[in-house]
Symmetry: C2
Subunit: 325 residues, 2 copies
Protein backbone atom coordinates (compact mmCIF):
# COMPACT_ATOMS: atom_id res chain seq x y z
CA UNK A 1 0.00 0.00 0.00
CA UNK A 2 2.44 2.66 -1.19
CA UNK A 3 -0.14 4.74 -3.06
CA UNK A 4 -0.73 7.83 -0.98
CA UNK A 5 -3.34 10.56 -0.65
CA UNK A 6 -2.65 13.95 0.91
CA UNK A 7 -5.74 15.68 2.36
CA UNK A 8 -5.34 19.29 3.48
CA UNK A 9 -8.70 20.72 4.58
CA UNK A 10 -10.07 22.67 7.54
CA UNK A 11 -13.64 21.37 7.68
CA UNK A 12 -13.30 17.62 8.23
CA UNK A 13 -15.03 15.97 11.16
CA UNK A 14 -13.91 12.65 12.58
CA UNK A 15 -16.68 10.97 10.63
CA UNK A 16 -15.45 12.57 7.41
CA UNK A 17 -11.89 11.36 8.07
CA UNK A 18 -13.15 7.86 8.84
CA UNK A 19 -15.13 7.75 5.61
CA UNK A 20 -12.13 8.87 3.55
CA UNK A 21 -9.86 6.37 5.33
CA UNK A 22 -12.26 3.54 4.72
CA UNK A 23 -12.74 4.33 1.03
CA UNK A 24 -9.00 4.79 0.54
CA UNK A 25 -8.21 1.47 2.19
CA UNK A 26 -10.72 -0.32 -0.04
CA UNK A 27 -9.02 1.26 -3.05
CA UNK A 28 -5.49 0.45 -1.94
CA UNK A 29 -4.46 3.90 -0.72
CA UNK A 30 -3.26 5.31 2.55
CA UNK A 31 -4.37 8.79 3.60
CA UNK A 32 -2.49 11.48 5.48
CA UNK A 33 -4.48 14.40 6.88
CA UNK A 34 -3.15 17.92 7.37
CA UNK A 35 -4.89 21.06 8.56
CA UNK A 36 -4.22 24.23 6.54
CA UNK A 37 -1.97 25.33 9.42
CA UNK A 38 0.17 22.26 8.69
CA UNK A 39 0.68 23.27 5.06
CA UNK A 40 4.47 23.05 5.30
CA UNK A 41 4.29 19.47 6.54
CA UNK A 42 1.81 18.71 3.75
CA UNK A 43 4.23 20.15 1.19
CA UNK A 44 7.03 17.98 2.52
CA UNK A 45 4.78 14.94 2.15
CA UNK A 46 3.56 15.72 -1.38
CA UNK A 47 6.44 14.08 -3.30
CA UNK A 48 5.18 10.70 -2.04
CA UNK A 49 1.56 11.39 -3.08
CA UNK A 50 -0.49 10.41 -6.09
CA UNK A 51 -3.62 12.31 -5.00
CA UNK A 52 -4.20 15.70 -3.34
CA UNK A 53 -7.58 16.80 -1.92
CA UNK A 54 -7.62 20.44 -0.81
CA UNK A 55 -8.12 24.00 -1.96
CA UNK A 56 -4.71 25.67 -1.78
CA UNK A 57 -3.10 26.67 -5.07
CA UNK A 58 0.18 27.18 -3.22
CA UNK A 59 0.11 23.60 -2.01
CA UNK A 60 -0.70 22.34 -5.50
CA UNK A 61 2.24 24.31 -6.93
CA UNK A 62 4.51 22.45 -4.50
CA UNK A 63 3.40 19.07 -5.86
CA UNK A 64 5.87 17.37 -8.22
CA UNK A 65 5.15 15.67 -11.56
CA UNK A 66 4.19 12.48 -9.70
CA UNK A 67 0.84 13.97 -8.62
CA UNK A 68 -1.82 12.36 -10.80
CA UNK A 69 -5.10 13.77 -9.43
CA UNK A 70 -5.98 17.01 -7.67
CA UNK A 71 -9.46 17.15 -6.16
CA UNK A 72 -10.37 20.75 -5.40
CA UNK A 73 -12.86 21.06 -2.53
CA UNK A 74 -14.20 24.29 -4.03
CA UNK A 75 -16.72 24.68 -6.82
CA UNK A 76 -14.88 27.29 -8.88
CA UNK A 77 -11.56 26.07 -10.26
CA UNK A 78 -10.69 29.03 -12.49
CA UNK A 79 -7.34 29.61 -10.71
CA UNK A 80 -6.31 26.09 -11.79
CA UNK A 81 -7.18 26.45 -15.47
CA UNK A 82 -4.68 29.12 -16.47
CA UNK A 83 -1.98 26.92 -18.01
CA UNK A 84 0.55 28.84 -15.95
CA UNK A 85 2.58 25.94 -14.62
CA UNK A 86 0.46 25.36 -11.53
CA UNK A 87 0.45 21.67 -12.35
CA UNK A 88 3.94 20.16 -12.59
CA UNK A 89 2.29 17.18 -14.29
CA UNK A 90 0.52 18.45 -17.43
CA UNK A 91 -1.72 15.38 -17.43
CA UNK A 92 -2.75 15.71 -13.78
CA UNK A 93 -6.49 15.15 -13.44
CA UNK A 94 -8.53 17.98 -11.93
CA UNK A 95 -11.92 17.46 -10.28
CA UNK A 96 -14.03 20.08 -8.54
CA UNK A 97 -16.77 19.96 -5.91
CA UNK A 98 -19.43 22.13 -7.54
CA UNK A 99 -22.22 19.71 -6.76
CA UNK A 100 -21.65 20.07 -3.03
CA UNK A 101 -22.61 23.74 -3.09
CA UNK A 102 -25.99 23.54 -4.83
CA UNK A 103 -28.15 23.64 -1.69
CA UNK A 104 -26.29 26.36 0.22
CA UNK A 105 -25.95 28.60 -2.83
CA UNK A 106 -29.57 28.02 -3.85
CA UNK A 107 -30.71 29.06 -0.35
CA UNK A 108 -28.54 32.16 -0.56
CA UNK A 109 -30.08 32.95 -3.96
CA UNK A 110 -33.65 32.51 -2.70
CA UNK A 111 -32.85 34.69 0.31
CA UNK A 112 -31.30 37.62 -1.55
CA UNK A 113 -33.87 37.44 -4.36
CA UNK A 114 -36.66 37.77 -1.79
CA UNK A 115 -34.76 40.52 0.04
CA UNK A 116 -34.64 42.55 -3.16
CA UNK A 117 -38.23 41.81 -4.24
CA UNK A 118 -39.48 42.63 -0.73
CA UNK A 119 -37.41 45.81 -0.40
CA UNK A 120 -35.42 44.66 2.61
CA UNK A 121 -32.54 47.13 2.08
CA UNK A 122 -35.08 49.95 2.47
CA UNK A 123 -36.97 48.34 5.33
CA UNK A 124 -33.69 47.73 7.14
CA UNK A 125 -33.01 51.44 6.87
CA UNK A 126 -36.47 52.13 8.32
CA UNK A 127 -35.70 49.78 11.23
CA UNK A 128 -32.23 51.28 11.71
CA UNK A 129 -33.92 54.66 12.19
CA UNK A 130 -36.52 53.15 14.57
CA UNK A 131 -39.16 54.33 12.10
CA UNK A 132 -42.42 52.67 11.17
CA UNK A 133 -43.32 52.68 7.50
CA UNK A 134 -44.88 49.77 5.73
CA UNK A 135 -46.19 50.66 2.32
CA UNK A 136 -43.31 49.96 -0.05
CA UNK A 137 -44.54 47.98 -3.07
CA UNK A 138 -43.19 44.46 -2.81
CA UNK A 139 -43.04 41.75 -5.43
CA UNK A 140 -43.05 37.97 -5.46
CA UNK A 141 -41.13 35.00 -6.85
CA UNK A 142 -44.59 33.60 -7.61
CA UNK A 143 -45.54 34.55 -11.16
CA UNK A 144 -42.08 35.91 -11.99
CA UNK A 145 -39.94 35.44 -15.11
CA UNK A 146 -36.50 34.20 -14.15
CA UNK A 147 -33.40 33.72 -16.26
CA UNK A 148 -30.64 31.52 -14.89
CA UNK A 149 -27.39 32.45 -16.62
CA UNK A 150 -25.18 29.45 -15.99
CA UNK A 151 -27.66 26.60 -15.71
CA UNK A 152 -25.36 24.13 -13.98
CA UNK A 153 -25.80 22.52 -10.58
CA UNK A 154 -25.94 25.81 -8.64
CA UNK A 155 -28.36 27.58 -10.97
CA UNK A 156 -30.56 24.53 -11.35
CA UNK A 157 -30.84 23.88 -7.62
CA UNK A 158 -32.05 27.48 -7.29
CA UNK A 159 -34.44 27.07 -10.24
CA UNK A 160 -36.06 24.04 -8.60
CA UNK A 161 -36.79 26.06 -5.48
CA UNK A 162 -38.06 29.06 -7.43
CA UNK A 163 -40.38 26.75 -9.38
CA UNK A 164 -41.76 25.30 -6.15
CA UNK A 165 -42.46 28.87 -5.04
CA UNK A 166 -44.56 29.47 -8.14
CA UNK A 167 -42.19 31.18 -10.60
CA UNK A 168 -44.12 31.51 -13.85
CA UNK A 169 -41.32 30.99 -16.34
CA UNK A 170 -37.69 29.95 -15.92
CA UNK A 171 -35.20 30.21 -18.77
CA UNK A 172 -31.88 28.42 -18.46
CA UNK A 173 -28.83 29.60 -20.34
CA UNK A 174 -25.68 27.53 -20.64
CA UNK A 175 -22.67 27.39 -22.91
CA UNK A 176 -24.13 24.54 -24.96
CA UNK A 177 -27.79 25.47 -24.57
CA UNK A 178 -28.64 21.85 -24.04
CA UNK A 179 -31.62 21.26 -21.77
CA UNK A 180 -30.54 18.96 -19.00
CA UNK A 181 -33.17 19.70 -16.38
CA UNK A 182 -36.95 19.62 -16.63
CA UNK A 183 -37.24 22.66 -14.36
CA UNK A 184 -36.42 25.01 -17.26
CA UNK A 185 -39.31 26.17 -19.41
CA UNK A 186 -36.84 27.15 -22.11
CA UNK A 187 -33.13 26.50 -22.53
CA UNK A 188 -30.74 28.47 -24.75
CA UNK A 189 -27.07 28.87 -25.45
CA UNK A 190 -25.34 32.07 -24.39
CA UNK A 191 -25.55 33.38 -27.96
CA UNK A 192 -29.27 34.06 -27.40
CA UNK A 193 -28.74 36.16 -24.26
CA UNK A 194 -29.57 39.52 -25.86
CA UNK A 195 -33.07 38.35 -26.85
CA UNK A 196 -33.82 36.97 -23.41
CA UNK A 197 -32.66 39.80 -21.15
CA UNK A 198 -35.50 42.23 -22.05
CA UNK A 199 -38.06 39.66 -20.81
CA UNK A 200 -36.24 38.84 -17.59
CA UNK A 201 -37.48 40.05 -14.19
CA UNK A 202 -34.96 38.15 -12.09
CA UNK A 203 -31.51 37.44 -13.54
CA UNK A 204 -29.50 34.90 -11.59
CA UNK A 205 -25.85 34.58 -12.61
CA UNK A 206 -24.09 31.37 -11.59
CA UNK A 207 -21.35 31.21 -14.20
CA UNK A 208 -17.96 29.58 -13.74
CA UNK A 209 -14.92 31.83 -14.08
CA UNK A 210 -13.63 31.03 -17.57
CA UNK A 211 -12.22 33.19 -20.39
CA UNK A 212 -15.66 32.90 -22.08
CA UNK A 213 -17.59 34.29 -19.13
CA UNK A 214 -15.45 37.37 -18.39
CA UNK A 215 -17.68 40.45 -18.65
CA UNK A 216 -20.45 38.40 -20.23
CA UNK A 217 -22.89 40.91 -18.69
CA UNK A 218 -21.53 43.98 -20.44
CA UNK A 219 -22.82 47.51 -19.95
CA UNK A 220 -24.98 47.06 -23.06
CA UNK A 221 -26.49 43.82 -21.78
CA UNK A 222 -27.19 45.28 -18.33
CA UNK A 223 -29.07 48.04 -20.20
CA UNK A 224 -31.22 45.39 -21.93
CA UNK A 225 -32.79 44.37 -18.60
CA UNK A 226 -36.13 46.01 -17.73
CA UNK A 227 -35.79 48.86 -15.23
CA UNK A 228 -37.69 46.87 -12.62
CA UNK A 229 -35.47 43.81 -13.00
CA UNK A 230 -33.10 42.53 -10.34
CA UNK A 231 -29.71 40.90 -10.85
CA UNK A 232 -28.04 38.40 -8.54
CA UNK A 233 -24.50 37.09 -8.99
CA UNK A 234 -23.02 34.14 -7.13
CA UNK A 235 -20.66 32.86 -9.82
CA UNK A 236 -17.62 35.01 -10.34
CA UNK A 237 -17.30 38.78 -10.01
CA UNK A 238 -15.52 38.90 -13.36
CA UNK A 239 -18.69 37.79 -15.17
CA UNK A 240 -20.15 41.29 -15.18
CA UNK A 241 -19.09 44.87 -15.82
CA UNK A 242 -19.17 45.95 -12.18
CA UNK A 243 -18.81 49.67 -12.91
CA UNK A 244 -21.75 49.55 -15.34
CA UNK A 245 -23.83 47.72 -12.72
CA UNK A 246 -23.03 50.39 -10.10
CA UNK A 247 -24.04 53.13 -12.55
CA UNK A 248 -27.31 51.39 -13.42
CA UNK A 249 -28.20 50.88 -9.75
CA UNK A 250 -27.29 54.39 -8.66
CA UNK A 251 -29.27 55.85 -11.58
CA UNK A 252 -32.29 53.65 -10.81
CA UNK A 253 -32.12 51.91 -14.19
CA UNK A 254 -32.23 48.58 -12.36
CA UNK A 255 -34.41 47.83 -9.31
CA UNK A 256 -31.73 46.07 -7.31
CA UNK A 257 -28.84 43.66 -7.23
CA UNK A 258 -27.17 41.22 -4.88
CA UNK A 259 -23.51 40.34 -5.26
CA UNK A 260 -21.77 37.62 -3.33
CA UNK A 261 -18.79 37.81 -5.68
CA UNK A 262 -17.03 40.98 -6.80
CA UNK A 263 -13.79 42.42 -8.11
CA UNK A 264 -11.52 42.56 -6.23
CA UNK A 265 -12.01 40.27 -3.24
CA UNK A 266 -11.70 41.25 -0.47
CA UNK A 267 -13.25 44.54 -1.49
CA UNK A 268 -11.11 47.52 -0.37
CA UNK A 269 -12.55 49.65 2.46
CA UNK A 270 -13.04 52.69 0.18
CA UNK A 271 -14.57 50.88 -2.82
CA UNK A 272 -17.73 52.58 -4.23
CA UNK A 273 -19.53 49.22 -4.35
CA UNK A 274 -20.10 49.39 -0.57
CA UNK A 275 -22.31 52.45 -1.02
CA UNK A 276 -24.16 51.53 -4.18
CA UNK A 277 -27.96 51.96 -4.06
CA UNK A 278 -30.29 48.96 -3.74
CA UNK A 279 -27.39 46.56 -3.55
CA UNK A 280 -27.22 43.62 -1.14
CA UNK A 281 -23.55 42.75 -0.67
CA UNK A 282 -22.22 39.62 1.03
CA UNK A 283 -18.52 38.80 1.41
CA UNK A 284 -18.41 35.63 -0.76
CA UNK A 285 -20.38 33.49 1.67
CA UNK A 286 -23.05 31.86 -0.51
CA UNK A 287 -21.09 28.61 -0.74
CA UNK A 288 -20.01 28.70 2.87
CA UNK A 289 -18.21 25.47 3.82
CA UNK A 290 -19.53 25.59 7.35
CA UNK A 291 -22.86 24.16 6.26
CA UNK A 292 -22.63 20.55 7.42
CA UNK A 293 -24.49 19.23 4.41
CA UNK A 294 -22.04 20.91 2.04
CA UNK A 295 -19.10 19.34 3.89
CA UNK A 296 -20.73 15.89 3.90
CA UNK A 297 -21.43 16.08 0.17
CA UNK A 298 -17.93 17.37 -0.54
CA UNK A 299 -16.39 14.32 1.14
CA UNK A 300 -18.91 11.95 -0.44
CA UNK A 301 -18.07 13.32 -3.90
CA UNK A 302 -14.33 12.87 -3.30
CA UNK A 303 -14.86 9.29 -2.14
CA UNK A 304 -17.06 8.51 -5.13
CA UNK A 305 -14.40 9.73 -7.53
CA UNK A 306 -11.65 8.00 -5.58
CA UNK A 307 -13.42 4.73 -6.29
CA UNK A 308 -13.77 5.71 -9.94
CA UNK A 309 -10.13 6.73 -10.12
CA UNK A 310 -8.89 3.53 -8.51
CA UNK A 311 -11.04 1.39 -10.80
CA UNK A 312 -9.97 3.30 -13.92
CA UNK A 313 -13.55 4.44 -14.53
CA UNK A 314 -14.45 7.94 -15.83
CA UNK A 315 -14.49 10.44 -12.97
CA UNK A 316 -17.80 12.11 -12.29
CA UNK A 317 -16.52 15.56 -11.33
CA UNK A 318 -13.69 15.82 -13.83
CA UNK A 319 -12.94 19.36 -15.06
CA UNK A 320 -11.81 20.11 -18.58
CA UNK A 321 -8.80 22.27 -17.76
CA UNK A 322 -9.01 24.10 -21.11
CA UNK A 323 -12.76 24.83 -20.82
CA UNK A 324 -12.50 25.65 -17.13
CA UNK A 325 -15.48 23.72 -15.72
Amino acid sequence: MNRKICVCLEFLTEAHCAKIQETAKKCGFSVHFFSPEQAEAAKAFLPECEVLYGHSIELLRAAPVTLKWYCCSWAGVDPYCKNDGTFANPDCLLTNSAGAYGVTIAEHLIMVTLMLLRRMPEYEQVVLNHDWSNQLPVRSIRGSSITVLGAGNLGTTFAERAKAMGAAHIIGISHSGKAREAVYDEMYSTSRLDEILPRTQILVMALPGTPDTIHMMTKERIALLPHDAILVNVGRGTALDQDALMDALNAGRLAGAALDVMVPEPLPKDHPLWNTKNLVLTPHVAGNMTLGYTCDLNVAMFCEDLENYAAGRPMRHLVNRTRGY
Copy 2:
Protein backbone atom coordinates in the same frame (compact mmCIF):
# COMPACT_ATOMS: atom_id res chain seq x y z
CA MET B 1 -81.70 46.65 -7.57
CA ASN B 2 -81.85 48.34 -4.18
CA ARG B 3 -79.38 45.99 -2.48
CA LYS B 4 -76.18 47.94 -2.03
CA ILE B 5 -72.52 47.22 -1.36
CA CYS B 6 -70.08 49.76 0.07
CA VAL B 7 -66.44 49.17 -0.85
CA CYS B 8 -63.82 51.28 0.91
CA LEU B 9 -60.31 50.15 -0.05
CA GLU B 10 -57.10 51.76 -1.21
CA PHE B 11 -55.66 49.02 -3.39
CA LEU B 12 -58.26 48.45 -6.10
CA THR B 13 -57.26 48.69 -9.76
CA GLU B 14 -59.80 49.37 -12.52
CA ALA B 15 -59.84 45.66 -13.28
CA HIS B 16 -60.63 44.87 -9.65
CA CYS B 17 -63.53 47.37 -9.65
CA ALA B 18 -64.87 45.93 -12.91
CA LYS B 19 -64.76 42.41 -11.50
CA ILE B 20 -66.61 43.46 -8.34
CA GLN B 21 -69.18 45.42 -10.38
CA GLU B 22 -69.80 42.48 -12.67
CA THR B 23 -70.20 39.96 -9.84
CA ALA B 24 -72.46 42.34 -7.92
CA LYS B 25 -74.66 42.94 -10.94
CA LYS B 26 -75.05 39.20 -11.49
CA CYS B 27 -76.09 38.84 -7.84
CA GLY B 28 -78.53 41.75 -7.89
CA PHE B 29 -76.40 44.33 -6.08
CA SER B 30 -75.09 47.75 -6.93
CA VAL B 31 -71.62 48.78 -5.71
CA HIS B 32 -70.32 52.14 -4.55
CA PHE B 33 -66.56 52.60 -4.28
CA PHE B 34 -64.85 54.92 -1.83
CA SER B 35 -61.18 55.51 -1.17
CA PRO B 36 -60.11 55.60 2.50
CA GLU B 37 -59.81 59.41 2.09
CA GLN B 38 -63.55 59.43 1.31
CA ALA B 39 -64.41 57.68 4.57
CA GLU B 40 -66.92 60.37 5.58
CA ALA B 41 -68.84 59.95 2.33
CA ALA B 42 -68.73 56.19 2.84
CA LYS B 43 -70.14 56.60 6.36
CA ALA B 44 -73.01 58.71 5.01
CA PHE B 45 -73.77 55.98 2.49
CA LEU B 46 -73.65 53.05 4.92
CA PRO B 47 -77.29 53.24 6.14
CA GLU B 48 -78.35 52.16 2.65
CA CYS B 49 -75.93 49.21 2.52
CA GLU B 50 -76.30 45.52 3.17
CA VAL B 51 -72.62 44.70 2.60
CA LEU B 52 -69.35 46.44 3.52
CA TYR B 53 -65.93 45.41 2.10
CA GLY B 54 -63.04 47.24 3.74
CA HIS B 55 -60.68 47.25 6.68
CA SER B 56 -61.67 50.21 8.85
CA ILE B 57 -63.12 49.47 12.27
CA GLU B 58 -64.23 53.09 12.50
CA LEU B 59 -66.24 52.72 9.32
CA LEU B 60 -67.78 49.48 10.55
CA ARG B 61 -68.79 51.16 13.81
CA ALA B 62 -70.72 53.73 11.75
CA ALA B 63 -72.78 51.02 10.07
CA PRO B 64 -76.35 50.62 11.38
CA VAL B 65 -78.19 47.41 12.23
CA THR B 66 -79.11 46.97 8.57
CA LEU B 67 -75.57 45.86 7.67
CA LYS B 68 -75.72 42.10 7.13
CA TRP B 69 -72.19 41.22 6.00
CA TYR B 70 -68.81 42.78 6.66
CA CYS B 71 -65.96 41.43 4.52
CA CYS B 72 -62.64 42.44 6.05
CA SER B 73 -59.85 42.71 3.48
CA TRP B 74 -57.28 41.82 6.13
CA ALA B 75 -56.35 38.36 7.38
CA GLY B 76 -56.47 39.08 11.12
CA VAL B 77 -59.90 40.06 12.40
CA ASP B 78 -59.18 40.11 16.13
CA PRO B 79 -60.33 43.75 16.50
CA TYR B 80 -63.76 42.64 15.25
CA CYS B 81 -64.22 39.73 17.65
CA LYS B 82 -64.33 41.60 20.94
CA ASN B 83 -68.08 41.74 21.47
CA ASP B 84 -67.68 45.45 22.23
CA GLY B 85 -70.52 46.83 20.15
CA THR B 86 -68.51 47.22 16.97
CA PHE B 87 -71.32 45.52 15.09
CA ALA B 88 -74.69 47.27 15.46
CA ASN B 89 -76.24 44.11 14.06
CA PRO B 90 -75.30 41.21 16.38
CA ASP B 91 -75.97 38.73 13.57
CA CYS B 92 -73.85 40.54 11.02
CA LEU B 93 -71.72 38.03 9.12
CA LEU B 94 -67.95 38.52 9.25
CA THR B 95 -65.57 37.13 6.63
CA ASN B 96 -61.83 37.64 6.45
CA SER B 97 -59.27 37.47 3.65
CA ALA B 98 -56.62 35.26 5.25
CA GLY B 99 -56.23 33.09 2.17
CA ALA B 100 -55.07 36.06 0.11
CA TYR B 101 -51.95 36.51 2.22
CA GLY B 102 -50.53 32.98 2.07
CA VAL B 103 -48.01 33.60 -0.70
CA THR B 104 -46.67 36.96 0.45
CA ILE B 105 -46.39 35.87 4.07
CA ALA B 106 -44.82 32.53 3.12
CA GLU B 107 -42.18 34.37 1.07
CA HIS B 108 -41.51 36.68 4.00
CA LEU B 109 -41.14 33.63 6.26
CA ILE B 110 -38.74 31.87 3.90
CA MET B 111 -36.72 35.08 3.59
CA VAL B 112 -36.32 35.82 7.29
CA THR B 113 -35.78 32.14 8.17
CA LEU B 114 -32.89 32.02 5.70
CA MET B 115 -31.58 35.38 6.95
CA LEU B 116 -31.38 33.96 10.46
CA LEU B 117 -29.95 30.57 9.46
CA ARG B 118 -27.39 32.27 7.20
CA ARG B 119 -26.37 34.89 9.82
CA MET B 120 -27.41 37.88 7.72
CA PRO B 121 -27.74 40.28 10.70
CA GLU B 122 -24.06 39.66 11.42
CA TYR B 123 -22.96 39.74 7.79
CA GLU B 124 -24.84 43.00 7.31
CA GLN B 125 -22.81 44.43 10.17
CA VAL B 126 -19.62 43.21 8.46
CA VAL B 127 -20.73 44.93 5.23
CA LEU B 128 -21.74 48.09 7.08
CA ASN B 129 -18.17 48.29 8.42
CA HIS B 130 -16.73 47.61 4.93
CA ASP B 131 -15.10 44.52 6.44
CA TRP B 132 -14.47 41.16 4.86
CA SER B 133 -15.17 38.12 7.01
CA ASN B 134 -16.79 35.00 5.74
CA GLN B 135 -16.52 32.13 8.15
CA LEU B 136 -19.66 32.33 10.27
CA PRO B 137 -21.29 28.90 10.56
CA VAL B 138 -24.49 28.91 8.53
CA ARG B 139 -27.36 26.46 8.56
CA SER B 140 -29.95 25.27 6.09
CA ILE B 141 -33.69 24.76 5.72
CA ARG B 142 -32.71 21.45 4.11
CA GLY B 143 -32.69 18.76 6.76
CA SER B 144 -34.24 20.99 9.43
CA SER B 145 -37.00 20.27 11.94
CA ILE B 146 -39.71 22.89 11.67
CA THR B 147 -42.75 23.48 13.84
CA VAL B 148 -45.57 25.60 12.43
CA LEU B 149 -47.58 26.98 15.33
CA GLY B 150 -50.85 28.01 13.70
CA ALA B 151 -51.13 25.60 10.78
CA GLY B 152 -53.70 27.58 8.80
CA ASN B 153 -53.35 29.00 5.31
CA LEU B 154 -50.33 31.20 6.13
CA GLY B 155 -48.37 28.55 8.00
CA THR B 156 -49.20 25.84 5.50
CA THR B 157 -48.17 27.91 2.47
CA PHE B 158 -44.81 28.40 4.20
CA ALA B 159 -44.59 24.69 5.08
CA GLU B 160 -45.07 23.73 1.43
CA ARG B 161 -42.12 25.91 0.41
CA ALA B 162 -39.94 24.67 3.26
CA LYS B 163 -40.72 21.08 2.25
CA ALA B 164 -39.73 21.82 -1.35
CA MET B 165 -36.43 23.17 0.01
CA GLY B 166 -35.75 19.88 1.75
CA ALA B 167 -36.94 20.40 5.34
CA ALA B 168 -36.60 17.02 7.06
CA HIS B 169 -39.60 17.15 9.36
CA ILE B 170 -42.49 19.60 9.65
CA ILE B 171 -44.89 19.52 12.58
CA GLY B 172 -48.14 21.44 12.35
CA ILE B 173 -49.91 22.68 15.44
CA SER B 174 -53.45 24.00 15.38
CA HIS B 175 -56.26 24.52 17.86
CA SER B 176 -58.00 21.31 16.83
CA GLY B 177 -54.87 19.34 15.92
CA LYS B 178 -56.66 17.98 12.88
CA ALA B 179 -54.32 17.28 9.95
CA ARG B 180 -55.64 19.11 6.96
CA GLU B 181 -52.57 19.26 4.76
CA ALA B 182 -50.30 16.47 3.58
CA VAL B 183 -47.25 18.70 3.96
CA TYR B 184 -47.17 18.08 7.72
CA ASP B 185 -45.26 15.04 8.92
CA GLU B 186 -47.10 15.25 12.24
CA MET B 187 -50.05 17.31 13.39
CA TYR B 188 -50.99 18.12 16.99
CA SER B 189 -53.29 20.30 18.99
CA THR B 190 -51.82 23.17 20.98
CA SER B 191 -52.03 21.07 24.17
CA ARG B 192 -48.98 19.11 22.94
CA LEU B 193 -46.82 22.19 22.39
CA ASP B 194 -44.52 21.59 25.40
CA GLU B 195 -43.45 18.18 24.08
CA ILE B 196 -42.72 19.49 20.61
CA LEU B 197 -40.73 22.64 21.36
CA PRO B 198 -37.57 20.84 22.57
CA ARG B 199 -37.28 19.09 19.18
CA THR B 200 -37.87 22.23 17.11
CA GLN B 201 -35.06 23.98 15.22
CA ILE B 202 -37.26 26.51 13.43
CA LEU B 203 -40.46 27.71 15.13
CA VAL B 204 -42.82 29.59 12.84
CA MET B 205 -45.72 31.33 14.58
CA ALA B 206 -48.70 32.23 12.41
CA LEU B 207 -51.46 32.36 15.00
CA PRO B 208 -54.59 34.48 14.80
CA GLY B 209 -55.09 37.03 17.56
CA THR B 210 -57.65 35.37 19.82
CA PRO B 211 -58.04 35.14 23.61
CA ASP B 212 -56.60 31.58 23.36
CA THR B 213 -53.41 32.63 21.61
CA ILE B 214 -52.40 35.52 23.89
CA HIS B 215 -48.95 34.77 25.31
CA MET B 216 -49.15 31.19 24.05
CA MET B 217 -45.35 31.31 23.84
CA THR B 218 -44.71 32.03 27.49
CA LYS B 219 -41.29 32.57 29.04
CA GLU B 220 -41.31 28.91 30.07
CA ARG B 221 -42.12 27.71 26.56
CA ILE B 222 -39.47 29.94 24.98
CA ALA B 223 -37.02 28.26 27.39
CA LEU B 224 -38.09 24.83 26.06
CA LEU B 225 -36.63 25.63 22.62
CA PRO B 226 -33.06 24.40 21.98
CA HIS B 227 -30.47 27.17 22.30
CA ASP B 228 -29.71 26.97 18.58
CA ALA B 229 -33.37 27.30 17.58
CA ILE B 230 -34.83 30.29 15.77
CA LEU B 231 -38.29 31.78 16.22
CA VAL B 232 -40.29 33.68 13.61
CA ASN B 233 -43.60 35.41 14.29
CA VAL B 234 -45.93 36.76 11.61
CA GLY B 235 -49.26 36.22 13.36
CA ARG B 236 -49.88 38.63 16.21
CA GLY B 237 -47.39 40.22 18.57
CA THR B 238 -49.59 39.27 21.51
CA ALA B 239 -48.94 35.56 20.88
CA LEU B 240 -45.62 35.63 22.69
CA ASP B 241 -44.05 37.02 25.84
CA GLN B 242 -42.01 39.69 24.10
CA ASP B 243 -39.93 40.61 27.16
CA ALA B 244 -38.98 36.96 27.67
CA LEU B 245 -38.01 36.69 24.00
CA MET B 246 -35.78 39.78 24.28
CA ASP B 247 -34.09 38.32 27.37
CA ALA B 248 -33.50 34.96 25.67
CA LEU B 249 -32.02 36.61 22.58
CA ASN B 250 -29.82 39.02 24.48
CA ALA B 251 -28.55 36.21 26.70
CA GLY B 252 -27.87 33.95 23.69
CA ARG B 253 -30.34 31.31 24.88
CA LEU B 254 -31.93 31.42 21.40
CA ALA B 255 -29.98 31.69 18.13
CA GLY B 256 -32.23 34.31 16.56
CA ALA B 257 -35.71 35.60 15.93
CA ALA B 258 -37.64 37.55 13.32
CA LEU B 259 -40.70 39.56 14.27
CA ASP B 260 -43.02 41.18 11.79
CA VAL B 261 -45.59 41.75 14.53
CA MET B 262 -44.93 43.18 17.95
CA VAL B 263 -46.47 44.99 20.90
CA PRO B 264 -47.17 47.84 20.52
CA GLU B 265 -47.39 48.76 16.85
CA PRO B 266 -45.98 51.11 15.74
CA LEU B 267 -43.07 50.38 18.05
CA PRO B 268 -41.99 53.50 20.00
CA LYS B 269 -38.62 55.03 19.03
CA ASP B 270 -37.03 54.12 22.37
CA HIS B 271 -38.32 50.55 22.67
CA PRO B 272 -35.63 47.97 23.64
CA LEU B 273 -36.83 45.62 20.88
CA TRP B 274 -35.04 47.77 18.27
CA ASN B 275 -31.67 46.90 19.81
CA THR B 276 -32.21 43.25 20.68
CA LYS B 277 -29.46 40.86 19.57
CA ASN B 278 -29.91 38.53 16.56
CA LEU B 279 -33.37 39.91 15.87
CA VAL B 280 -34.66 40.73 12.39
CA LEU B 281 -37.45 43.29 12.77
CA THR B 282 -39.86 44.36 10.03
CA PRO B 283 -42.66 46.90 10.53
CA HIS B 284 -45.66 44.58 9.95
CA VAL B 285 -45.03 44.17 6.22
CA ALA B 286 -45.20 40.39 5.68
CA GLY B 287 -48.77 40.62 4.40
CA ASN B 288 -48.16 43.75 2.41
CA MET B 289 -51.21 44.61 0.27
CA THR B 290 -49.07 46.09 -2.47
CA LEU B 291 -48.28 42.63 -3.84
CA GLY B 292 -50.53 42.44 -6.91
CA TYR B 293 -51.28 38.78 -6.40
CA THR B 294 -52.51 39.41 -2.86
CA CYS B 295 -54.86 42.15 -4.10
CA ASP B 296 -56.15 39.98 -6.95
CA LEU B 297 -56.86 37.11 -4.59
CA ASN B 298 -58.46 39.43 -2.03
CA VAL B 299 -60.97 40.65 -4.63
CA ALA B 300 -61.53 37.13 -6.01
CA MET B 301 -62.31 35.87 -2.50
CA PHE B 302 -64.79 38.67 -1.89
CA CYS B 303 -66.52 37.97 -5.21
CA GLU B 304 -66.66 34.24 -4.49
CA ASP B 305 -68.34 34.84 -1.16
CA LEU B 306 -70.63 37.50 -2.64
CA GLU B 307 -72.01 34.79 -4.92
CA ASN B 308 -72.33 32.44 -1.97
CA TYR B 309 -74.05 35.13 0.09
CA ALA B 310 -76.48 36.04 -2.66
CA ALA B 311 -77.36 32.39 -3.27
CA GLY B 312 -77.79 31.65 0.44
CA ARG B 313 -74.91 29.16 0.35
CA PRO B 314 -72.37 28.78 3.19
CA MET B 315 -69.66 31.41 2.90
CA ARG B 316 -66.16 30.11 2.40
CA HIS B 317 -64.27 32.69 4.47
CA LEU B 318 -66.76 33.07 7.32
CA VAL B 319 -65.25 33.87 10.71
CA ASN B 320 -66.65 32.55 13.96
CA ARG B 321 -66.84 35.82 15.89
CA THR B 322 -66.58 34.03 19.23
CA ARG B 323 -63.60 31.88 18.22
CA GLY B 324 -61.93 34.75 16.40
CA TYR B 325 -60.86 33.04 13.13
